[in-house]
């Protein structure tokens, strides 16, 4: 079914053209004087002098990805590949690896040896953040991917992703993690368990 579009009826002053032009110009001239001669706090400029001046993105803006840290500086990521599975653009490549034998996490936990995001291919849908069970990948950086002439500059590896802080400047997240050996994590051996 075709939609009927109701157009507002035009008044005589609309129809005559010049009164409306004068009204519009009056606003322009008023703003010009107000923004040129009045005090700083009264000015009503809506424009931002980009790139000298940058307006903050909204709180929930999905910016460039970051990999969050644990308290010891290692990545929270356990290379479960949930993000790359959820990714509709298939821009995440991960190679899992095992911790060294002297690490407390050796034997059952894994970490990403290689973690690459192709930011050119990424569509910034945020599915990877939704899929992550460990709060390891976030898009709360508040910045977009910086522009470049080189394709290679958009291939972000693990070190790059871990070097980007969140909007609050921190590399960790508010959600706590229970590491083996912590009092909050009773342990991985029979002796350390509470029974």
């Amino acid at each position: 079914m075709a939609y009927k579009i109701h157009k507002p009826a035009r008044t005589l002053s609309d129809q005559a053209y010049f009164p409306e032009v004068a009204k519009g110009l009056a606003i322009t001239v008023r703003r010009f004087f107000k923004n040129t001669f009045s005090k700083e706090e009264n000015k009503v400029i809506a424009t931002v002098q980009y790139p000298d001046e940058v307006r903050d993105y909204p709180e929930r803006f999905r910016g460039v990805h970051r990999l969050t840290h644990r308290t010891d500086g290692s990545p929270r990521c356990v290379a479960c590949l949930c993000c790359s599975t959820a990714c509709p653009a298939q821009c995440i490549y991960i190679e899992p690896a095992e911790y060294e034998p002297d690490d407390a996490r050796y034997g059952f936990e894994r970490f990403p040896k290689v973690f690459v995001i192709d930011e050119l291919r990424c569509i910034f849908c945020g599915y990877c953040v939704e899929a992550c069970p460990c709060d390891a990948i976030r898009m709360d950086t508040g910045v977009h991917v910086p522009a470049s002439h080189e394709r290679a500059h958009f291939i972000f590896d693990k070190e790059t992703l871990m070097s980007i802080p969140g909007k609050d400047g921190s590399y960790v997240t508010q959600n706590p993690r229970h590491e083996p050996g912590d009092p909050s994590h009773p342990g991985v051996t029979r002796e350390a368990g509470h029974h």
Partner: protein, 537 residues
């Protein structure tokens, strides 16, 4: 055949069948953890509880909330029975999807997940885990328990191949029963009770028999994981294609699990076949997948004097055709391979006969290994019977080839496969062919081996995972396998490569497709003689 009713559907059963086995035969799955068609019944997971409404119905007295009277009144509910232990009887009425049965499945599932760490992101079983599957079909509720779960040992090394995680274990005892009943090596057992229950290895022992990886395979959860497969791939990325194990003459049916994105095989799993391997495979068989990627020959090799240079596949084919084209008729010896498919061997034998008038056939393969009474055959070659079937005149042992070379009756050799049951010095007469000297030894192979080192011209061909074909096992059963991954660099199966070489020499057998080869092959394979089935001495 007698039948019983399961959720209103008639299920035929053989006398002695349990409810769950009769349903399994019909392709109906009653949720279960501890039951396995190849193992004894333990009935300890309680997941397969069903309601039986025929015969003498057992009832449990309960108190039931009465909405009208606003109080609990005495009532009864049907006593559920494990479908894995309940023998099927004529005209039985069983309900696996009644309200009571579904409730039982839900509560059993909740109980099993009570102390589960839910570490699916770092668990290799994720994606093929029964706990995940049944949570989705039977539970679908958040955890009600708010206290810290009981912690148990993680990452316990059971042996050279298996790592155990007690927190994920649901104590179904499948691994224990497998070791006891199939591997005949009772090395696993259970210790402690209740919350602290865990699987343990016998003191002073390791889980190191020939069937350790099967314990991981029968584990319905992520408690036992294979060291080899750990953290390598996520199972939901893997595709499976039907294969046949290349480890020995038993010819166990396999699923070749590969990642189509990287064209790489990650593991082999047993494919159920009642006539051959039932549900099982041995460790060495499951590790044969490594040969698909290790020591691969992906380019041609030409030996000139003592120097070996790598050339493209096409150049290698040209060189092979040029070298073989000049050999007088009847002086070409053919080495068929017990490691290659019947198709490859058939085309090689036919080409040699029609093009070179070859009459001398020899059989190469791996030397005998350690067999057992369970699955492993002492002959380490998957297709000895198939290779012998395409050489009706019989094939000599490879050791006779050296004598024939010395006598000068043979001046060129065309061989298939990399392996020989001879050592380097015994292969020296072969290695002396070609190069700077007279004659030639053309070897078609997918991997490096003794025959490859002894060849003057090496032509790369597709491996077993990269081609379709047929293996004839020690019992004389011809089994087909399908291509899983694509060979790198346009490499073709050996039969197609041979046809290419033949074309250059003016041989047009009309074998363009695998179907052509299969229809041209001898239909009825001869029954395996004692000699053919017996392992090499």
């Amino acid at each position: 055949m007698p039948t019983f009713k399961l959720d209103g559907q008639e299920i035929p059963f053989e006398p002695g069948d349990t409810i769950i086995r009769a349903a399994w035969r019909q392709g109906i799955e009653i949720p279960h953890y501890c039951w396995h068609p190849g193992l004894s019944v333990a009935a300890n997971c309680r997941m397969c509880l069903v309601e039986v409404r025929s015969g003498r119905v057992m009832a449990l007295p309960i108190l039931k909330w009465d909405e009208k009277k606003k109080e609990y009144l005495p009532s009864t509910k049907p006593k559920l029975q494990p479908a894995c232990q309940l023998a099927a009887q004529e005209d039985m009425e069983v309900f696996a999807a009644s309200e009571q049965a579904l409730k039982a499945q839900e509560t059993t599932q909740e109980f099993l997940l009570l102390n589960h760490p839910v570490d699916c992101p770092i668990c290799d079983q994720a994606g093929e885990c029964k706990l995940q599957d049944y949570w989705l079909t039977s539970q679908k509720k958040l955890k009600r328990k708010r206290t810290e779960p009981v912690h148990k040992p993680k990452g316990v090394v059971f042996g050279p191949t298996i790592v155990y995680d007690a927190e994920r274990c649901i104590m179904c005892t499948r691994c224990i029963r497998f070791c006891d009943e199939v591997a005949k090596d009772p090395v696993l057992d259970m210790r402690e009770r209740g919350n602290t229950n865990e699987i343990t290895v016998s003191p002073g022992r390791e889980l190191d028999n020939d069937y350790t990886l099967m314990t991981e395979h029968v584990c319905p959860v992520g408690a036992l994981t294979s060291k080899d497969f750990r953290f390598k791939a996520r199972v939901w990325f893997l595709k499976s294609s039907p294969g046949v194990c290349t480890g020995c003459a038993t010819g166990c049916n396999t699923w070749v699990d590969h990642d189509p994105r990287y064209q790489r095989v990650y593991r082999l799993r047993p494919r159920d076949n009642e006539d051959v391997n039932k549900f099982w495979m041995c460790d060495d068989g499951m590790m044969t997948y490594k040969r698909f990627h290790e020591d691969r020959v992906v380019a041609g090799r030409l030996r000139d004097g003592g120097r070996v240079s790598e050339v493209s596949r096409v150049d290698a084919i040209d060189a092979a055709a040029a070298a073989l084209g000049g050999v007088p008729k009847g002086q070409v010896a053919v080495v068929v391979s017990a490691q290659h498919s019947s198709e490859d061997n058939y085309v090689l034998a036919r080409m040699a006969r029609e093009l070179f008038g070859a009459e001398r056939f020899y059989l190469a393969g791996k030397p005998a290994w350690r067999g057992d009474d369970i699955l492993r055959n002492a002959d380490a070659n998957p297709n000895r019977a198939g290779a012998l079937a395409v050489t009706p005149g019989g094939a000599d042992a490879l050791s006779k080839l050296a004598a024939d070379l010395d006598s000068g009756e043979v001046t060129a050799v065309i061989s298939l496969g990399a392996f020989a049951d001879l050592n380097e010095s015994e292969l020296a007469p072969l290695a002396n062919l070609g190069g700077a000297g007279a004659g030639a030894h053309v070897n078609l192979t997918s991997e490096a081996g003794p025959l490859t080192s002894a060849a003057s011209i090496v032509v790369p061909v597709a491996s077993v995972a990269e081609s379709s074909g047929t293996f004839v096992n020690a019992k004389g059963l011809a089994q087909q396998f399908k291509k899983a991954v694509t060979a790198p660099g346009g490499i073709q199966p050996a039969w197609a490569t041979l046809v290419e070489i033949g074309h250059l020499l003016g041989w047009n057998p009309g074998l363009a497709l695998l179907g052509d080869v299969r229809s041209a092959m001898p239909k009825a394979l001869p029954a395996p003689s004692e000699e053919a089935a017996a392992p090499p001495a």
